[in-house]
Every structure is written in structure tokens, then in C-alpha cells.
């Protein structure tokens, strides 16, 4: 009995001691915990709670009942979406637009950065940089306004030139076969200049000794670019490529949304614009949630797979 009480006394003392160390760490870091809780509150409220809303995909949603009380629908909406020809059409469009952007837009900043680096006049280089970073800061709506004012049928600049030469007006914006090219070129116009910034930083970071060694070996400027500059910025290229893939199924929603119109739906309608019309305009919440979920799951898979792939092949990744 005496023994027992002694041991339990020790136990209690031990508990008090450890409890107080927990209290002490808490005390010591209380401001840190305070800051963390503020930050995590944001992430939970505006990122993780909406993720719970993904359940809508499996429910017959009624606005009055809310997400939790709405009856389960199983995979009904998944069936509906995956058997819908419209859905596959927008998936195809999304994939095509993104592929064109990766093929044509992605390399432009790399080439521009290498060429910018070759400019000998510092003042000219600064002036060029100031101008080509600029479109990054204006919104897609403004860019759409500029594109329309250059391409519109009646008084667009291009059509005025065409008419000046006595040719037929071209309705650039209503022609489905032009729409993707317009997207890709305006994407280059807006983002290529800004894209150079990170590559220029990477080029600046390459050691001068490498170039000197190459010169000793008799490598000319082009060979230096090929064998030193490009490998030197390869990690940056890979990281940006993976980040680009993460946006693959976005296909530039902001851009498409402000630029597409009913005439070019067949080539221009993408997953997000479709989900927006189905969900917010037509009120088919569950259907639109399935579409969004499909996009997010594929997107997540893509970026993880790409990261793994590049880590294996080149040794660089982002995680």
C-alpha cells in the first residue's frame, strides 16, 4: 500500500513535470502558435471546407437542404458527364489548346532570354525589358479589348489594312479555325516577356569560369549557348515546365473566358468555361462539380507524375 502510493505519487509528479514541459513549450511558442492558427484558419476556411463541397458530385444537391442533408446520388452524375459528347469535346479542346501553348508559347521566353543576354547595349536592354514586362501587368480583359480592336471585322486594324489592299474582310474572331491561334499568339504577347525574367536570373547565375573554359576549348558563341547556357538553365526549365503542366487543364481559363464567343464554341470551349456555364448559369451544380473534380484529379495526377518522371530522368523536380 505504501509502496503503491509512493509509485502513484511519483507518477503524478512525473505527469505534472511532463505536463508542465508541454505547457512550457506552448508558453515559449505561444505567439508562434497564435500566428500559425491564424494562417491555418484561412487555409481551412477557404481551401479545405470547399474541398468538402466536392461531395456535391455524389449528391442530388438542393440549395435548401445544403450539402450534408442533400440525398446521395452515387455515381449518377459521373455517368451523365462521362457519356456526354459535349464534355469530351471540351476536354479535347482543353488538351489541344494547352498542347499548342506548351509547343509554341513555352519555348519563347527561353529563346528571348538567351538573346536578351546577348544584347551589348545596357540601356537598350533595360528599355526592352521595361516594355516587354509590361503586358504581364494588365488584365486579360484589357488584352481582349486590344485583340478585338485589332481583329474586329468592321474597324479592326488588320481588316482596315486588308480593305486598303482591296481584299475581302476576314472575320477573325468568328472563325473557329483561327481561335486557337489567336489564343496562343495573344498568350505569347502577354506572357513571353515577363517569362524571360526568371531565365535571365538563371543565366546570370551560371559561373563565368565555364564560359572561359569553353573559350579556351575554342567554342564560339553559339556552341557556348548550346553546351553551357542551356544545360545551366535546364533545372529552371524543368521546374517551370512542371509548373506549366500543373496548369495544363486550365488552358488559360481567364484568357478563354474573356475572348471566346458563341461562334467559336466548337474549338474554343474548355473545361472551365463549360463548368461555369453548366453550374452557375444553368444551375446544374452536381454536374458542374463532377466536371471540376475530374479536372482537379487529372491535374494533380499530371503534376505528380511529371515531377516523378523528371526527377528520374534529369534529377530535378519541385517536391
Amino acid at each position: 500500500m505504501k509502496n503503491l502510493s509512493l509509485s502513484s505519487k511519483e507518477e503524478i509528479q512525473y505527469k505534472i513535470r511532463t505536463g508542465s514541459t508541454i505547457m512550457k513549450t506552448f508558453q515559449k511558442h505561444k505567439y508562434l502558435y497564435l500566428m500559425l492558427s491564424v494562417v491555418m484558419t484561412y487555409y481551412v476556411l477557404f481551401h479545405y471546407v470547399p474541398m468538402y463541397g466536392v461531395l456535391l458530385a455524389f449528391k442530388d444537391f438542393s440549395v435548401f437542404k445544403g450539402i450534408t442533408a442533400s440525398p446521395w446520388a452515387g455515381f449518377k452524375y459521373f455517368n451523365e458527364v462521362f457519356t456526354d459528347a459535349n464534355f469530351w469535346r471540351v476536354v479535347t479542346n482543353t488538351v489541344l489548346i494547352s498542347t499548342y501553348k506548351i509547343l509554341f508559347s513555352f519555348p519563347v521566353p527561353i529563346i528571348l532570354a538567351i538573346l536578351l543576354n546577348e544584347l551589348t547595349s545596357i540601356r537598350f536592354k533595360k528599355a526592352v525589358q521595361t516594355i516587354i514586362y509590361l503586358p504581364h501587368f494588365v488584365s486579360w480583359v484589357v488584352v481582349a479589348g486590344l485583340v478585338f480592336s485589332f481583329l474586329s471585322v468592321y474597324n479592326g486594324v488588320f481588316n482596315q489594312i486588308i480593305v486598303y489592299f482591296g481584299w475581302e474582310r476576314i472575320n477573325f474572331l468568328a472563325e473557329p479555325s483561327f481561335f486557337r491561334s489567336i489564343l496562343v499568339s495573344s498568350d505569347i504577347w502577354k506572357n513571353a516577356g515577363w517569362g524571360t525574367i526568371i531565365y535571365i536570373a538563371a543565366i546570370t547565375g551560371i559561373s563565368h569560369e565555364l564560359y572561359e573554359a569553353a573559350i579556351v576549348d575554342g567554342a564560339n558563341r553559339f556552341k557556348q549557348t548550346l553546351h553551357i547556357t542551356l544545360p545551366g538553365i535546364m533545372p529552371t526549365i524543368v521546374v517551370l515546365f512542371i509548373l506549366n503542366l500543373a496548369q495544363f487543364l486550365n488552358a488559360g481559363f481567364d484568357q478563354v473566358f474573356v475572348m471566346y464567343n458563341t461562334a467559336v464554341m466548337e474549338t474554343g470551349d474548355i473545361i472551365d468555361t463549360y463548368a461555369y456555364r453548366k453550374g452557375l448559369l444553368q444551375g446544374e451544380y452536381s454536374y458542374a462539380t463532377v466536371v471540376g473534380l475530374f479536372k482537379s484529379v487529372i491535374g494533380l495526377t499530371l503534376i505528380l507524375a511529371a515531377d516523378k518522371f523528371f526527377k528520374k530522368v534529369s534529377g530535378y523536380g519541385i517536391f
Partner: protein, 292 residues
């Protein structure tokens, strides 16, 4: 061997300068075109193909858009959202970036990966809409600010920059009895002004260019942003129409030039602050890109 062998050849240099002159022109000219188009009389706008400089100047289009209610009102919303939003964005982003640099924070990696995961997976528009409507944020000005309080990508750039600060500063402050909040506001922020300016600029641009929040989550016409007004304006003057939507004559000046003037109003504030902040953001992006 001649030195020039290692230098770029003369032909290449000339080509390069021409290339960037053309690229710079193609980038700048649309802005200039719209600006000139917004201040010349309509008769000149319709008769000229290439606009290089304004001969006769009129501010009729600007008078028109500022006498309507939508543009001045949207401008007010933009200022509120940009100023208020950017301050709160910076405050919370700094807080997050700082917390995640603290090695002594228990389960730091876990919390940080929770933040990172939100970059990789998003719940989609409809769940977001339902959530925001449950919070009562639909049609509230807070919807412009709260859901995008912390941009995780910017937060990582800031965190990388904080991690490069010398540790001794913090330790000496700790010895002086400063707590973490004090360290953040009295030491970290004052010596991180370039990155604060950069991220601040990024946020300000994002807030100023806010379109989708207005379209998705705002029904009240008095609470939409400038970009949303401009968007509606672009939609109402269909560029695929072969004839102007409004008949010939005086009224026809309106759609095209009002559009140009609105584009300038929606762009000018950004163009005005951008050159002053350029040296900061170049530096800031460089810091952040060392290891993204």
C-alpha cells in the same frame, strides 16, 4: 586567333537589335493605338488605318464614361479592393511565410504541406460558390479579399527570402526579450522591404485586375470591379459583327471610343506605378527564384 571569334558576330548583333526593336514595338503599339484612339475625334478614328500620334485631341470619350455611373463607381470599388486587399494580403502572407520558416514550430512540415496541397488540388467553382454563399460572402465586398488572402505561391517566394536573412539578427532580438510577433514586425519586415514591395505589387496588380470574383460571386451592379464593367462593355459590342451595332452618325462614336477610354482607365494606374517598382520586383523575383 582574332578575338571576334568569341564575340557575337556583327550580323547577329544587328539582327538581335532589330528583333527586339520589333518585339518591343509589337508589345507597345497596341497600348499606344488604344490611347491615341481614345483621344482623337471619331471621324479621324474611322478614317485612319494606322494611328501614330493624335493630331486633334478631344476628351469627349472620357467625359462620357465619367458622367455615367458604372465606371466611377467601379473605380471606387477597385480602389477599396486594391488598397484594403493588398494591405491584408501582405499582412497575412508575411505572417504565413514567417511562421513556416520557424524550425522550432512543431510539425512544421505537416502544416506547410497542407498549405502546398492547396496549390495542387482545388475544389472547383461550384463547391467554392456554395461555401462562400454559406459564409454569406456573396455580394459582399469581403469576397474580393478573404478567399484570396494568401497566395501560396507568393508566400513561398517570401519564405525563401526570409530564410536567407542572417539568423543572428533574430537571436539577438530574442535575447533582448522580443517575442516572435515583435521580431517579425521590428526586424524581419524592415529589412525585407524589396521583397515586400515586390509581393505587394503582385497583389496590387491581382486585386486591381479582379474580374472573376465580380462575375462569379457578385450580383450587385454597384459592387463590380472595373474589369467586370469593361468585360460587359466588350461583350455588348460584339467584335464579330460585320457592321457597327449602333447606326451610323454621331452615336456610332460611342462604343468603340468608350471602350478605348475604359481600357485606358483600367490600365493607367498600373502603368503609372510599374516603372517605379520595376527595380524592386526584378530583385525580388531573383531572390525568390534561387530555389523556387
Amino acid at each position: 586567333m582574332k578575338k571576334s571569334f568569341f564575340e557575337p558576330s556583327r550580323g547577329f548583333k544587328v539582327f538581335n537589335v532589330i528583333l527586339f526593336t520589333v518585339f518591343g514595338f509589337v508589345t507597345f503599339y497596341p497600348f499606344w493605338y488604344v490611347f491615341v484612339g481614345s483621344i482623337i475625334p471619331f471621324t479621324e478614328l474611322s478614317s485612319k488605318v494606322i494611328l501614330l500620334y493624335p493630331e486633334n485631341i478631344t476628351f469627349e470619350a472620357y467625359k462620357q464614361i465619367f458622367s455615367s455611373s458604372s465606371i466611377p463607381n467601379a473605380l471606387k470599388i477597385n480602389v477599396i479592393v486594391t488598397v484594403g486587399g493588398t494591405i491584408l494580403n501582405l499582412l497575412f502572407t508575411t505572417l504565413a511565410a514567417y511562421v513556416f520558416t520557424k524550425k522550432e514550430l512543431p510539425a512544421r512540415n505537416f502544416w506547410f504541406s497542407l498549405a502546398i496541397f492547396t496549390m495542387l488540388f482545388n475544389s472547383g467553382l461550384i463547391p467554392m460558390y456554395v461555401t462562400l454563399s454559406n459564409y454569406g460572402l456573396i455580394d459582399s465586398l469581403w469576397v474580393y479579399i478573404l478567399p484570396t488572402l494568401i497566395n501560396t505561391y507568393y508566400m513561398i517566394i517570401m519564405k525563401t527570402s526570409f530564410e536567407q536573412l542572417p539568423k543572428e539578427l533574430e537571436e539577438s532580438a530574442k535575447i533582448d526579450g522580443c517575442n516572435e510577433i515583435g521580431i517579425l514586425f521590428r526586424i524581419i519586415i524592415p529589412i525585407s522591404l524589396p521583397i515586400m514591395a515586390t509581393i505587394g505589387l503582385f497583389y496590387a496588380v491581382d486585386r486591381w485586375n479582379e474580374l472573376f470574383t465580380a462575375i462569379f460571386f457578385i450580383n450587385d451592379e454597384n459592387k463590380v470591379t472595373l474589369q467586370a464593367v469593361l468585360y460587359r462593355m466588350l461583350q455588348s459590342t460584339d467584335p464579330t459583327m460585320s457592321e457597327p451595332t449602333i447606326g451610323e452618325g454621331g452615336a456610332a462614336m460611342l462604343p468603340e471610343q468608350l471602350k478605348y477610354a475604359s481600357i485606358i482607365v483600367a490600365t493607367l494606374p498600373i502603368l503609372a506605378v510599374y516603372p517605379f517598382l520595376q527595380r524592386f520586383f526584378v530583385k525580388g523575383v531573383l531572390i525568390g527564384s534561387v530555389k523556387g
